[in-house]
C-alpha cells in the first residue's frame, strides 16, 4: 500500500501542549456553570413555563372581567366554584351574569387563547424551516389559501352565518392544503426543495389568493360580504361549546404533533445540509411540518379570519428573551401568543363598546411597526 508515515505526529503534540486553554481542574466547576448557564436545562424550562402560565391565567381572569358588562373577580370565582361543585342549577337560574360569563365570554377568551397559541406555534415552525425570522403562515400564503377556501364555501352558501363553525374549518383546511401543494410543487420543480424558493413561492401565492378572495367578496351579496369583510379582517366570536370542543381537540392534536419536533426544528434551523449530516431526513420532515402547519392554519383561519403578525412578532420577541432553543421557544411562544390574543381581543371588544373592532386590525397596528423595526434591525445585524 502507499506509504503514509510522514513525521507529522511530533508537532501535533507540541501544539496541544501549547494550547491556550489547557485543562485546569480548579476552574472546572466554573466552566461547568458557564456551560450549564448557556444551555437549556429542565429547571430553566420549568421556571419559564411556570411564569408564563401564571401570566396567562392572570390575563385570562382579567379578560373575563371586562366586556359590555363588568363582572368582578369575586363574582367570577363564585360562578366558577358553583360550576365546579355541582350546584349548576342554582348558578344558571341566578342571573344573566353567569350566562354571559359562561356562554359568551369564557368560550371567546378560550378561543382567543387557542388561536393565538396556534398562530405563534406555526410561526415558530415556519421560521425555523425557512431560516427566516420574518416568515409566518401569512407570508407563505397558507392563510390566504384557507381564506379562499372558506370564502368560496360562503359564496355557495355553506354555513349560513359567517362563523358557523360547521363545515367551514374543512373548507379552510382544503384551501390551505391547496396552497401548500402549489407551493410544494413550485419549489420542488427544482431537484430538491431550496428554502428561499419556498418563501418566494409563498409571496406570489399570497398575492394571487388575496386577489381571488377579494374577487369572491366583491361578487357576494352585500349583506354577506359585510360579514365577510369583518371576518377577513380577523375577528373572534363566542362559539358554542360542542364546536369549541371539536375545534380545540383538533388544534391540541395538531399542536402536539408539532411540539414533538422541537429538537428537529433546532437542527433544521441550521440549514438543510447540516440537518442531513446530523441524521435528519429533511425532505420528509419538511413535508410533515408544512402539512401540520397547513392543517392548523386552515382551522384557525376558518374561525378567526386573517389575524396577522402574531406568528411573526411573538416568536421573535420570545426568542430575544429565552433564546433560540425550540424546546422552550415553541411552548413559550404558544403561551405568550395565546395570552397576547386574549388581551388583544378583550381590547377589541371593549375599546369601542358596544360595537367591536376586528382584532386583526389591532394586531396589525401593533405588529406592523414591529415588522419595520425588525427589517431595520436585521439590516444592521446582517451587514
Amino acid at each position: 500500500m502507499m506509504s503514509s508515515d510522514h513525521p507529522s505526529s511530533p508537532h501535533s503534540v507540541g501544539v496541544l501542549a501549547a494550547s491556550p486553554e489547557p485543562n485546569q481542574p480548579l476552574s472546572s466547576s466554573a466552566d461547568d456553570q458557564l456551560f450549564e448557564k448557556s444551555t437549556l436545562t429542565a429547571r430553566r424550562w420549568m421556571t419559564a413555563m411556570a411564569f408564563l402560565s401564571a401570566l396567562g391565567i392572570l390575563a385570562a381572569l382579567l379578560c373575563l372581567q371586562f366586556g359590555a358588562q363588568y363582572v368582578g373577580l369575586s363574582e367570577i370565582l363564585r360562578i366558577v366554584v358553583h360550576m365546579a361543585w355541582g350546584t349548576h342549577d342554582q348558578v344558571v337560574d341566578s342571573d344573566a351574569t353567569a350566562t354571559i360569563l359562561l356562554h359568551v365570554r369564557l368560550p371567546r377568551v378560550f378561543l382567543g387563547f387557542l388561536v393565538g397559541c396556534s398562530l405563534a406555534s406555526v410561526g415558530v415552525a415556519l421560521q425555523a424551516l425557512l431560516r427566516n425570522p420574518l416568515a409566518d403562515p401569512y407570508v407563505l400564503g397558507v392563510s390566504s389559501g384557507a381564506a379562499l377556501g372558506v370564502s368560496i364555501a360562503v359564496l355557495f352558501g355553506v354555513g349560513t352565518t359567517m362563523l358557523a363553525v360547521s363545515a367551514l374549518p374543512l373548507c379552510g383546511l382544503g384551501g390551505s392544503l391547496i396552497a401548500l401543494v402549489v407551493i410544494y410543487r413550485m419549489a420542488a420543480s427544482y431537484d430538491r426543495l431550496p428554502i428561499y424558493s419556498v418563501l418566494l413561492a409563498g409571496v406570489i401565492l399570497n398575492a394571487i389568493f388575496s386577489a381571488l378572495v377579494m374577487f369572491v367578496t366583491s361578487i357576494m351579496d352585500p349583506n354577506r360580504s359585510f360579514g365577510m369583510m369583518t371576518w377577513l379582517m380577523g375577528s373572534l366570536t363566542a362559539p358554542a361549546y360542542p364546536t369549541l370542543l371539536v375545534f380545540s381537540l383538533y388544534l391540541i392534536i395538531g399542536l402536539g404533533l408539532l411540539f414533538k419536533h422541537v429538537r428537529v426544528l433546532n437542527i433544521m434551523a441550521f440549514g438543510e445540509e447540516p440537518a442531513r449530516s446530523l441524521g435528519i431526513d429533511t425532505d420528509r420532515t419538511k413535508r410533515y411540518i408544512f402539512l401540520l402547519s397547513a392543517l392548523i392554519t386552515g382551522a384557525v383561519v376558518s374561525v378567526s379570519g386573517m389575524i396577522g403578525f402574531i406568528g411573526m412578532v411573538v416568536p421573535h420577541a420570545i426568542r430575544l428573551i429565552v433564546g433560540a432553543d425550540h424546546r422552550l421557544l415553541m411552548p413559550a411562544s404558544a403561551l405568550v401568543g395565546g395570552t397576547f390574543l386574549m388581551v388583544a381581543d378583550t381590547l377589541a371588544r371593549t375599546l369601542l363598546s358596544p360595537s367591536e373592532v376586528p382584532v386583526g386590525i389591532l394586531t396589525a397596528l401593533a405588529g406592523g411597526p414591529f415588522f419595520i423595526y425588525l427589517l431595520v434591525w436585521r439590516k444592521d445585524r446582517m451587514s
Binding site: 502507499m2 507529522s8 486553554e21 456551560f35 437542527i267 442531513r276 446530523l278
Partner: protein, 295 residues
C-alpha cells in the same frame, strides 16, 4: 498507523480494519432532467478510503470536490454508480445511520437564530439519541452528552465561547464551533469542506494538528476538501486531484504535487520544492520575477 484505536469504547475493533468507503463509477449532475441547465459535475469517479487515513480532495474551482464530499456524507443522494460505507450501500442506509458514523462540516456555517455555542454543541449528540414514540422531542441532554460536548469544545478551543451566540462569532470561530460539533457526534469518519478557509494561521495549524491527533489516537478517518495545496500536502496521507469531475491523479502527496501534473490541471506554472522539515512537496507561487518575464 491506528495503534490507539482501543481508546474509544463504542467502536467495534473489527470494523475499523478495511475500507471505509468504496466508490465505484460515480456520476453526478445538477439540474433536473427536464430543465436545460443540466450540469455534469462528476464523471466516472472510483476510489476507496482506508480506515484511519486522511484523504485530501484537491482541484480547481468547479472540479466537483464539494459535490463528491456531499455524496460521501449522504448530503446529496447517489444518482449513478455506487458508494459503499463500511460495506453497505449508501442508498440503503438511513440518514440517521449515516450520521452515527459520519460527521460532515460544511463550508457555509452561517446561522440566523441566536443559538448559544453550548446549545449548538449539544445538537451534535442528536444522532446518538434513541427516539421512542413516547419521547416528546424534548430529549434533555444526559450528563454523558454534556461531557462529550464539553470535551469536544476543549479539543477545538471554543470552550470560552460557550455562552456566546453563534450569530455573533467571527467566521473562523464559527468554523471551529461547527468542527467541534462534528466531533461531539463521535464519528468514525469526518468530512470537512475547506476546514481552513476562514482561519488565521494559528487556528489553521491547530485544526490540522487536531485532525492528525484524532486520526492517530482514535483511528478517525478524515476526508477533506481544500483549496490550499500546501495544507493538503503536509497533512494528508493521500491526495485526490480532480479535474472537471474526473480523477486526474490519486496517490501520495509526492505522486500528486508535481509541477507538470499541477500544470495540466490548473493550467499554470508553479514552483514545487520540499518542505525543509517534513520533506514533503511544497507548492510556491512563481513570484514577481516570473510575472515580469511573462510580460
Amino acid at each position: 498507523m491506528n495503534q490507539a484505536q482501543s481508546v474509544d469504547r463504542s467502536r467495534d475493533p473489527l470494523s475499523t480494519a478495511g475500507r471505509v468507503y468504496e466508490v465505484q463509477g460515480l456520476h453526478f449532475q445538477y439540474g433536473g432532467s427536464d430543465s436545460g441547465t443540466l450540469r455534469q459535475v462528476l464523471r466516472n469517479v472510483s476510489f476507496f478510503v482506508e480506515a484511519g487515513e486522511m484523504l485530501g480532495i484537491v482541484g480547481p474551482n468547479g472540479s466537483g470536490k464539494t459535490s463528491l464530499l456531499k455524496l460521501l456524507g449522504k448530503i446529496v443522494p447517489v444518482q449513478q454508480g455506487s458508494v459503499a460505507l463500511f460495506g453497505s450501500s449508501m442508498s440503503d442506509l438511513r440518514q440517521e445511520a449515516v450520521a452515527q458514523s459520519v460527521a460532515f462540516v460544511p463550508q457555509d456555517t452561517s446561522q440566523t437564530f441566536p443559538f448559544t455555542v453550548a446549545e449548538t454543541m449539544l445538537m451534535g449528540r442528536f444522532p446518538r439519541h434513541h427516539r421512542t414514540v413516547w419521547d416528546w422531542g424534548f430529549g434533555w441532554d444526559s450528563p454523558d452528552d454534556r461531557a462529550v460536548a464539553q470535551q469536544a469544545m476543549k479539543t477545538m478551543d471554543v470552550w470560552h465561547l460557550a455562552d456566546r451566540s453563534v450569530t455573533e462569532l467571527s467566521g473562523g470561530e464559527r468554523q471551529r464551533v461547527i468542527i467541534a460539533r462534528a466531533l461531539a457526534q463521535d464519528p468514525r469518519v469526518l468530512l470537512l469542506d475547506e476546514p481552513t478557509a476562514f482561519l488565521d494561521l494559528q487556528h489553521q495549524i491547530e485544526i490540522c494538528s487536531v485532525l492528525i491527533r484524532l486520526k492517530e489516537e482514535r483511528g478517525l478517518t478524515v476526508v477533506l476538501v481544500s483549496h490550499d495545496l500546501n495544507v493538503a500536502s503536509q497533512y494528508c496521507d493521500r491526495l485526490m486531484l480532480l479535474d472537471r469531475g474526473q480523477v486526474f491523479r490519486l496517490g501520495t502527496p509526492d505522486d500528486v504535487i508535481q509541477p507538470e501534473v499541477l500544470k495540466a490541471v490548473y493550467r499554470c506554472q508553479v514552483l514545487v520544492d520540499r518542505h525543509p522539515r517534513s520533506g514533503l512537496p511544497r507548492v510556491t507561487l512563481p513570484g514577481r520575477d516570473t510575472a515580469r518575464r511573462l510580460k
